[in-house]
């Protein structure tokens, strides 16, 4: 269409302003899409922090609290669960596997979790991915073996065979160290992008050994102390754990078992469905996420208004152009459509450049973001939602361009063929 050629020619004649306008739109589009992609990936990766687990069971408290300490290692349990309760449900005919979790110690700010070998076999994250070892193996019969999450190993520079001392409590500066019973690193897990990366895993026996000579929350002194060697000889059966994860034979039994656990007579327990609790937690954070989206929408609007300003400013100096066009037969609506086409061309160029910038940015930062934040940003084509956003931006641009188009229409009617200097 010849009008489009004219619009592009006129734009090329003002290429510096046009380029800046395109750049402003491109940056805002890139920002919006990046925010959208990070948002949806964050949501997806959040939802896939834990998978394959049908029920999380802890002492009766709030479901969010239980989710936070059992999966995200945030906060503390209000109460422990008796070992007998765990055993009762671990041997339940509907239960396929059970993973005990015992929390309470830490190492240089990272949480220590006591668990059983079942953890490495049955804990899944993402889309059903199992835990993998990047080095070494799971802890075995010796209680003083530890398996590190990927981030722990990387941040603290630990290798296999390293001997480390755990601290009592979860403050980052711990006063009481379990320095009489050092652990040796026997395995390092591959990166998962979940809280597993920030966890040190020891056996329940190890957890028990650390505290075998503790009474009322303080370590024994002098003769009461039990050395690591002595502890190895003892029967290290825990009396209590913090929580446990259950996998069932059939998902259909989930609600029935949940009710059964919640009504358990032995002690007050709470069973939650991880998916539901995750959703609940995400909706709490939704406000911040929405705010981010709104801010980036505003940035796009700013870009479009910048374009509008540039076009409106150009109108006066383009009266000559309009008059020439009128003299060679362009009608006022031709002049008006030239401006709409101009806005469309600028925005389209901005959107395309924005997409190019987005992919460039993703390609450049993909590895870093994945390793640092556990977010996998795919180099995929825009999805339906993103296309819809881009379409909306184009429509908004067309809508805004009605203003300069209308003014040019009026102007060219008034000026006619008169060329004003």
């Amino acid at each position: 269409m010849y009008l489009f050629r004219l619009a592009l020619g006129s734009l090329a004649n003002r290429r510096f302003t046009a380029l800046l306008t395109v750049l402003a739109i491109a940056l805002s589009v890139c920002l919006l899409l990046a925010v959208e992609r990070v948002r949806s990936e964050a949501r997806a990766s959040f939802a896939s922090t834990i998978s394959g687990t049908d029920l999380i069971v802890g002492a009766r408290s709030g479901s969010l609290n239980l989710l936070l300490y059992s999966v995200f290692r945030i906060g503390n349990a209000t109460n422990n669960i008796r070992w007998e309760s765990f055993q009762h449900f671990a041997e339940h005919p509907r239960v396929k596997w059970a993973i005990p979790i015992s929390l309470g110690d830490s190492h240089r700010g990272y949480r220590v979790m006591g668990t059983s070998p079942a953890y490495f076999a049955h804990y899944h994250y993402g889309r059903g991915q199992p835990l993998r070892f990047s080095a070494g193996r799971a802890f075995a019969t010796d209680p003083f073996e530890v398996v590190l999450g990927a981030e722990v190993a990387e941040a603290l520079g630990y290798q296999l065979g390293e001997r480390i001392v755990l601290a009592h409590g979860v403050a980052s500066v711990s006063l009481v160290q379990h320095d009489d019973k050092p652990f040796s690193v026997v395995g390092i897990l591959a990166r998962t992008g979940t809280p597993v990366d920030r966890t040190l895993h020891i056996s329940l026996a190890g957890m028990e050994a650390l505290h075998v000579d503790w009474h009322n929350g303080v370590p024994a002194r002098g003769a009461g102390r039990i050395s690591a060697e002595q502890a190895r000889q003892m029967k290290l059966q825990p009396k209590a754990i913090t929580a446990f994860l259950l996998g069932l034979h059939s998902k259909a039994a989930t609600f029935a078992l949940q009710r059964e656990i919640n009504e358990y007579r032995g002690e007050p327990l709470l069973a939650i469905l991880p998916g539901v609790a995750l959703q609940e937690l995400w909706s709490l954070m939704g406000t911040a996420e929405q705010a981010l989206f709104v801010v980036s929408l505003c940035v796009v609007l700013t870009g479009l208004i910048g374009m509008l300003t540039a076009i409106l400013t150009s109108l006066n100096e383009r009266r000559r152009e309009m008059a020439i066009l009128r003299s060679v037969g362009a009608r006022p609506w031709h002049v008006a459509s030239l401006l709409v086409l101009e806005a469309f061309a600028l925005t389209l160029a901005g959107v395309l450049l924005g997409l190019a910038l987005l992919y460039l940015a993703i390609a450049a930062s993909q590895g870093y973001v994945q390793s640092r934040y556990g977010l996998y940003l795919p180099l995929a084509l825009p999805g339906a939602h993103e296309w819809a956003l881009l379409g909306t931006i184009l429509c908004a641009a067309l809508l805004l361009s009605a203003l300069p188009a209308w003014r040019a229409y009026r102007q060219s009617l008034a000026d006619g063929l008169t060329i004003r200097l």
Partner: protein
Amino acid sequence: MSQPLLELADLGFAWPGQAELLDIPRFRLERGETLFLKGPSGSGKTTLLGLLGGVQTPGRGSIRLLGEQLERMSAGRRDHFRVDHIGYIFQQFNLLPFLSVRENVELPCRFSRLRADRARQRHGSVGQAATMLLEHLGLPAGLLGRRADALSIGQQQRVAAARALIGQPELVIADEPTSALDTDAREAFLHLLFAECRAAGASLLFVSHDQSLAGLFDRSLSLTELNRATKPVEI
């Protein structure tokens, strides 16, 4: 007497809320005629050109172009009619700087099917017509692909003339087209313009304040005499 190309009868025009600016009882332009219309500033020249182009409509009277009354047409039809039958040359800088010389010349054919058809009939294609016209007007062939603003003023005016003439409109209106040229270039330009108007069978309405050129035309008129609304300007 045959029907004139352009005929004004009892034409009156006033801007809203102002005194009458134009009052022309009679004016004729014959087919193929070249007319010099002396129009100093304040004589209502711009308004008259606006009326002839159909951009404004007269308050009273009629404007007949090719026997059709412009004031009775709709605005869209007038726009159409104008580009089909009138070619314009303005003072200076009347090319689109971002288009090539050739594209500038072809512009009227983009908006008028009639002129595109005529250009094709006579020269085979619109592009060919532009090339021929520019050649006749003495523009070096090497400049055709250049941006219009890369040309000298004199060259630009020839391009503007070619644009006014492409597709053989019946009327060419030139508004001070030579004011930016020096004396020698003026006459040379006019001779080229006359020759091309003759070749295309077009009438030429040449509006200027430069009386020295009047002798070159078939006929010469003064707008101040023609227009009863103008008061003699004392200088």
